[in-house]
């Protein structure tokens, strides 16, 4: 009996415990894992150091300041072929973000519409949406990008058909609404033109957005403290439109729209969306839209019917049932996969290289890499960009997830 209650004899540490004792075994494993890891990385780095090509040229990021010497056909910031490789890479990064942003917006619109319509009672509509979703989910996005590029570059009419003949008669084709022209060189769209006072108008608009949020806060405060319902919808719409329009009129229209005009040989003014941009944008939105549609559908189905009925039994009107009961629960299911779809869009913009859109993969990972031969450096920078972007987005997503997660134990 006594032996049971005796405190265990204080034994010294033995080597055998490193393998047999559960308390110490984990240190052995980790040590072995660490050694293996260091050895394999050492082996890789050693190989790289002994590589004849790398030994000759070394690893050097100095090439970034050399003149790039190639042209980029979509320049959101100023760029000439004499600008540095770094500037070309920055333009590429901006182009990546432009197409990613556009595609995220339209993919969400397509996805929400298709997801809601797929649940519609209308047999034809729901089946059409099912066909859309299955078609686009099961065929690689690269094929869609190339198909849409082929359509934009081959089936749109040539610019010559928009040309006004010498005798002054009507051109073969006119501009759609006088604003848009789809040609095989790309789609011409109107461009916003800012005079210097334009920033005041933009500033007013941003201020009214802040104002709308303030109004909503105020309305909620009133509701909770005094039980008084302050109208929100119409005042916020008015707040968004009226001050901006007033400012625009007062300052004499500093923000204008410049339509594309047919000159003698080509279009002048306006903004040219090249077939590559259109293909990438449209294909990514319609492809990812199919995935988002499934997320939206799952989110709506995840809210059980009892919730709607309970809200109705409490006497809420249908609009409030939707906004206070169904949507908050559905959004909790929809938003996380939605964000990861946005990440997928951003990563898939790297397929731009297949249609010659000058995104980061096209500039830094394409022409710069081939011209300078600095594969290692270029690929490292390329990965660093995408990685930073993805990690930043997922960090934001985690914050959001924690804020809406069900508070359980």
């Amino acid at each position: 009996m006594t032996t049971m209650t005796d405190p265990p004899k204080a034994e010294g540490f033995r080597i055998g415990q490193l393998i047999n004792d559960k308390r110490y075994r984990s240190y052995t494993f980790q040590f072995i894992a660490l050694v293996l890891l260091i050895l394999s990385f050492g082996w890789l780095i050693n190989n790289a150091m002994n590589n004849p090509i790398l030994q000759r040229v070394g690893i050097d990021f100095g090439f970034l300041s050399d003149p790039a010497g190639y042209d980029i056909n979509q320049q959101p910031i100023e760029y000439t072929s004499q600008s540095s490789h770094l500037r070309a890479a920055i333009i590429g990064a901006i182009n990546t973000l432009i197409v990613a942003f556009l595609a995220c917006v339209t993919a969400t619109i397509f996805g929400v519409i298709a997801g809601v319509l797929r649940l519609s009672n209308n047999w034809i509509i729901s089946k059409l949406m099912a066909v859309y979703v299955e078609m686009f989910r099961n065929i690689p996005v690269l094929i869609w990008i190339i198909i849409i590029f082929t359509v934009a570059a081959n089936t749109f009419p040539p610019i010559a058909e928009f040309r006004i003949p010498r005798d002054g008669s009507d051109a073969e084709r006119g501009l759609l609404f006088g604003m848009f022209a789809a040609t095989n060189q790309g789609v011409f769209i109107p461009r916003l033109v800012f005079e210097s006072a334009g920033w005041l108008v933009i500033g007013t608009f941003l201020a009214s957005i802040v104002g709308v949020f303030g109004l909503r806060r105020y309305a909620r405060h009133k509701l909770y403290s005094e039980g008084r319902i302050v109208p929100v919808l119409w005042p916020s719409i008015a707040l968004l439109i009226v001050p901006t329009v007033l400012m625009q009129l007062l300052l004499g229209s500093p923000v204008g729209v410049e339509n594309p005009e047919m000159g003698r040989f080509r279009f002048e003014g306006g903004f040219l969306m090249r077939p590559s941009l259109i293909a990438l944008w449209f294909a990514l939105s319609i492809y990812t839209g199919a995935f988002i549609a499934e997320n939206v559908r799952a989110g709506i189905l995840a809210v059980s019917k009892g919730q709607t009925e309970a809200a109705a039994a409490l006497g809420l009107r249908p609009g409030r049932v939707m906004s206070l009961v169904v949507l908050p629960q559905a959004l909790r299911v929809i938003i996380p996969p939605l964000i990861s779809q946005y990440l997928n869009i951003t990563k898939n913009t790297s397929l731009a290289i297949a249609v010659g859109y000058m995104d980061l993969t096209g500039t830094l990972g394409g022409i710069t890499l081939n011209q300078t031969g600095r594969a290692l450096e270029c690929v490292l920078l390329l990965m660093a960009f995408y990685l930073t972007f993805s990690l930043a987005i997922s960090a934001i997503m985690n914050v959001y997830n924690n804020s809406v997660a069900l508070k359980e134990r």
Binding site: S26, F29, Q30, A33, L34, L37, L44, I45, N47, A48, N50, N51, P52, I53, L54, S120, N121, N122, W123, I124, I125, L128, E134, M135, R137, N138, I139, P140, V141, L142, I143, I146, I147, T150, N154, K347, N348, S350, L351, I353, A354, T361, G365, L369, A375, L376, V379, L382, M383, Y386, L387, F389, S390, L391, S394
Partner: protein, 431 residues
């Protein structure tokens, strides 16, 4: 009461009248149409719009298919036959079909070998997909990789045979030593297998002519076959790696956990194309000077890395979905880590994560088309490169891309339907 009443009246109906049929507007097709297509004004507008869209699509599609021509040697022949009837020039498919499937370099008299390997796939895969088939059929699945390798790449049969012997010997060594501990067993298995492979490599170098069929180098692989090879090889390799990574990410050992987290987050944060760039231009720097891997092997390494990170995340979801009691039950039975994972946790966690794994597999199969960007001639690369740039077929876009769409759709839709079927099978709750 009622009795008394009955006697006082001359006639009382003794049987109930059969219910009158509902009005025609409330039965059968009419009711269905009213409820599903024309229940409100908005719904009616939607129906008409939907019908218009369907009509528009069909009016373009049907003449294209029906009037299409399957004979001719070039786009000019097609134009002559079609005379502007709006039909498709499917002659390109008839002529280039083998190229679409096998690439333009695979010797045409050897095409029966990958075809046979593809046919055998239908024997090898079902035992994995359908649990009700007899278990001995898994032997076919286990033999398949070696047979398929021999059929597609050719060369002496010694290489695949010794690869197989190595695996079997390693497995026996593992089962013998496993009682001493899982890790020791694994170590013994790997060592024995490596010895057998080394002997095999030696014999193959000495006797290259034994049971030899004509060898085909990997750079001659192409077409849809390349997509299939990459998809199947990478998915099957990445499932075990993904399991290890997922377990590592859950582990209490900081070094192991840290490595797995960094690896998974890194791979998931970069696009596949950059990894393919690594395979194409960078990976060679990190291998010993003089080693010359095939591009296809380097691509398989990178795509496997890519998909194993995604599969690891799916499996981590499965592991997290298991109630904690399952882990504790394993501990309380006195099982060690390897035993409780192998016998209790993983079978349940994998079952939960199968639909997710299938989704990753479909996505990966679609992503194999990206290899066309690093100038490999898979299905997309074949169409964009040799076929569309040949003088005979310049401008035949629709037919070729439609064929590519159909091929991918059939495979991917088939897999996703299987996944949905499996989800219904595995659902244990009653609804």
């Amino acid at each position: 009461m009622s009795d008394a009443h009955a006697h006082s009246i001359a006639f009382v109906r003794e049987t109930e009248l059969p219910p009158a049929p509902p009005p025609t507007a409330e039965t059968g097709a009419v009711k269905w149409v009213r409820e599903n297509l024309f229940s409100s004004i908005f719904n009616t507008i939607m129906t008409i719009l939907g019908l218009l869209i369907v009509l528009y699509l069909l009016s373009g599609l049907i003449p294209w298919i029906v009037n299409g021509t399957w004979e001719g040697a070039s786009i000019r022949d097609c134009r002559e036959t079609l005379q502007g009837s709006g039909g498709g020039c499917f002659a390109v498919l008839a002529e280039r079909w083998p190229q679409l499937l096998f690439g333009f370099q695979y010797p045409d008299y050897l095409r029966w070998r990958p075809s046979l390997a593809f046919a055998l796939l239908f024997l090898a895969v079902p035992p994995v997909l359908f649990f009700k088939l007899p278990r001995w059929m898994l032997v076919i699945t286990a033999l398949y990789p070696f047979v398929a390798y021999w059929l597609i790449w050719g060369g002496t049969a010694i290489t695949p045979i010794f690869a197989l012997i190595g695996v079997i010997a390693g497995y026996f060594a593992f089962t013998r030593v496993e009682r001493q501990g899982f890790v020791l067993g694994l170590l013994a298995g790997v060592i024995v297998a490596a010895i057998m492979w080394w002997i095999g490599g030696y014999i193959a170098a000495e006797e290259p002519g034994w049971l030899r069929i004509e060898a085909v180098p990997s750079r001659e692989m192409g077409g849809f076959m390349l997509n299939m090879i990459l998809g199947i090889v990478c998915v099957s390799l990445s499932i075990p790696i993904g399991i290890v990574l997922a377990l590592g990410r859950q582990s209490r050992l900081p070094v192991v956990k840290g490595f797995c987290v960094v690896f998974i987050e890194f791979v998931r944060g970069v696009p596949l194309i950059t990894l393919l760039f690594v395979a194409n231009v960078v990976l060679a720097y990190f291998l010993p000077p003089g080693t010359n891997f095939d591009l296809i092997v380097r691509v398989i390494i990178m795509i496997t890395m890519f998909s194993s990170a995604y599969i690891a995340e799916v499996i981590r979801g499965g592991l997290a979905a298991l109630p904690k009691g399952q882990y504790e039950a394993g501990d309380s039975l006195g099982l060690d880590y390897a035993q409780s994972m192998r016998l209790i946790v993983l079978p349940q966690a994998l079952k939960i994560s199968i639909p997710g794994i299938v989704n990753v597999a479909v996505g990966l199969f679609k992503d194999t088309t990206l290899v066309s960007v690093i100038s490999m001639f898979d299905l997309v690369g074949m169409i964009r490169g040799p076929i569309l740039s040949s003088t005979a077929w310049t401008g035949v876009y629709w037919e070729l891309w439609a064929a590519a769409c159909v091929l991918f759709f059939v495979v991917c839709y088939g897999i996703s339907q299987y996944s949905q079927w499996l989800e219904r099978q595995l659902r244990t709750d009653h609804r």
